[in-house]
Amino acid sequence: MLRRTVTTGLAAAALAAPLVLGALPAAAQQTTLRVFIGGQQRPDVMRPLMDLFQQQNPGVRVEIEVGGATSEAQQQYLTTVLTSRDPAIDVMLIDVVRPAQFAAAGWAEPLDAYLGGTDRATVLRRYLPGYAEAVVVDNKLMSLPAFADAMFLYYRTDLLQKYGLQPPRTWEETVSHARRIMAGENNPNLQGLNFQGAPIEGTNCTFLIPFWQLGGNLVGANNRVTVNNDAGRGAFQFWLDAMRTHRVSPANSAEVRTDDTRLQFQNGNVAFAVLWAYGWNLFQSEQSQVRGKVGVVPLPTFQGRQSATCIGGWQWAVSAFSRNKPDAAKLVQFLASGVASKHLAINASNLPVLPDLYRDPDVLRTNPWFEAALPVVITARSRPVSPRYPEVSEIIRTNVNGVIAGTKTPQAALTEMESRLQRVLR
């Protein structure tokens, strides 16, 4: 019995030896890059780009690691990996609000040394100015733009046509259109205006957009936080009225997350929705109930006020702890190229970071509204920039969530926001 086991073992070893020896040199040349992408950033659409890079760079294999579906969930995971200096992740897709923190913490490798002789200004000149600015922190190139984003107003073309309405330009119009449609349809499941009020990153924009439109400015002269004012009260009042007075927004808005809005609209339960650009592609997909019945316009503003929207978007960064930085930097430059941006625009309706693509016929064929989106993306405003952004974000979103849920009065929320933000942003 023992002898048989030994013989079998030897035979197996003899068989395996040439395989192992044969495989070794190839494995030594092979570099594996691990790319972290959030669940909502369409890893399925990213995969063909990685395959293309692998073809162009034999010896490099790209693995995708799919992270949580919200910006905060991804941040929490990346934070754990990066504070422990784990080299497991080489490249990561990070939210436009993060570079300041990544730079301060030293989590991202500055890319200036990997540009292959081209200077930074030349590389960045190709991109939309706002995105070119966002990737440079303390005179270092922390990341490269992946795709742009902004909040838009999605509407149902069929419903507007049925009631003879034009796409709204003001919030007042939006609310009255929504009321008219809801009264006419008499469908208890139909929501007039859906927005995000859950304690998530996107909820900051829910507050900031009407706040900016009413003339608010979160950080004023001398780094003074100015939120406890008429613009702040007006912003809260608008959403509270939409829910309680006009009853066009759902009663449970305080638990609506970004993708809940997308799903509700996609299932045909929403007339107007405030949402990022990624919704378009999914609304036009096979599973969508609203395919071919969707329109997009820049966000409305208040009567007689300037328009404003929240800038979004994502960037590719190389981990400071990666063991394959030159290859990772090469991949990042490929992923921030026109080829990649065009692929993402067509297949995931991600707004391009290169201005030319907004006039590209292939891009416009799948996303006819992109032409009108360019001025919106150019003028979109940034959320406050701070290395302590996670705290800034938490202060705003928790208070906005409290007001939308009715646990806090707008006045109490604004007072708390102002004093706590001042402490963090001082």
Binding site: T79, T83, Q101, A105, R388, E394, G402, A405, G406, T407
Partner: protein, 301 residues
């Protein structure tokens, strides 16, 4: 000769020294997994220690974090209030429900296993799963509870976004989840009560109600104290269920102290202040345990 000498030296040891030697491995282990981490926590809590600035030298701030938490941080007091409220609602709640379950499981059924299995299942379920399951149950749009309410002709209820209801559902889930732990300890206690006590009482003409008050409850008190100690300490550390069900919302009304510590250290990477908050929670747990230990010792005397 050489094999004899150690035997003799052990024999020479006094009983106290021998006892100490035998305890040494346990003491070393405790030092490693309790004393060192708590000591380090206390040390870090005295510094402005931020992992978001890993290259900065942490500045010594003394007791500043503690002073800020106790005098100037409304979020800390909100979290303490929520934690205390959860503790004083769910600990007695679970005790009452658990006692009921234990009594049912102790009934002389022919087949006891279905009741005992039902007792074990909630206990065996990971806390986060329980939280996620009930989050779906109580979802406004597609939750089971609102669906049933609508079928019965009632309106939909804002379980997740009304602060009182959100708090109520969280307490309900915690009671459901922890009562099985209570029930198991109490069931073990019930089975140690001698049968002949009840038989003697029956002979004396006592009703079952009197039996329960005069025999069962007094005999169960030691088991109850043990169950309460464990349950109170875990209640003070409540994290998983509210984290999974509401994430602390709406507007922070269901955020517990453990969640606030998690947010400060993991989301904000403020290890200094987070450690100070954790020390404060440690002191509260220590206080609760001391009170219970006093009760147990008082009982013995």
């Amino acid at each position: 000769m050489s094999s004899k000498s150690p035997r003799r030296s052990i024999g020479d040891l006094s009983e106290g020294t021998l006892g100490l030697l035998m305890l040494l491995p346990a003491i070393l282990l405790l030092c490693l997994i309790v004393v060192y981490p708590v000591g380090r926590l206390m040390y870090i809590s005295l510094f402005d220690w931020r992992m978001s600035l890993p290259n900065a030298v942490p500045a010594f701030v003394g007791l500043e974090h503690y002073i800020y938490a106790l005098t100037d941080d409304p979020k800390f007091w909100d979290a303490v209030y929520n934690t205390v409220l959860i503790t004083i609602i769910t600990v007695p709640g679970a005790l009452v429900v658990g006692l009921g379950l234990a009594l049912v499981a102790n009934l002389p059924f022919k087949h006891r296993w279905p009741t005992r299995l039902a007792l074990l299942l909630p206990w065996a379920l990971p806390l986060v799963f329980a939280g996620l399951i009930f989050r779906w149950f109580f979802n406004y749009d597609y939750g089971l509870v609102n669906d049933i309410l609508q079928r019965l002709g009632f309106g939909k209820v804002l379980w997740g976004t009304d602060p009182n209801l959100a708090f109520f559902t969280i307490c309900l889930v915690i009671i459901w989840k922890s009562s099985s732990f209570m029930a198991m300890i109490l069931l073990a206690g019930l089975q140690t009560i001698p049968r002949n006590l009840y038989e003697a009482a029956k002979v004396d003409g006592a009703t079952s109600w009197q039996c329960f008050w005069k025999i069962t409850l007094p005999m169960l008190i030691p088991s109850m104290v043990v169950a309460l100690v464990f349950r109170t300490i875990t209640a003070i550390q409540t994290f998983d269920i509210p984290y999974a069900m509401t994430g602390g919302g709406p507007g922070g009304t269901t955020e517990t102290l453990a969640m606030y510590i998690h947010k400060t250290t993991i989301d904000f990477l403020d290890f200094g202040y987070g450690s100070a908050l954790a020390m404060l929670m440690f002191l509260v747990s220590l206080g609760a345990t001391t009170i219970y230990l006093r009760i147990i010792q008082g009982d013995k005397e």
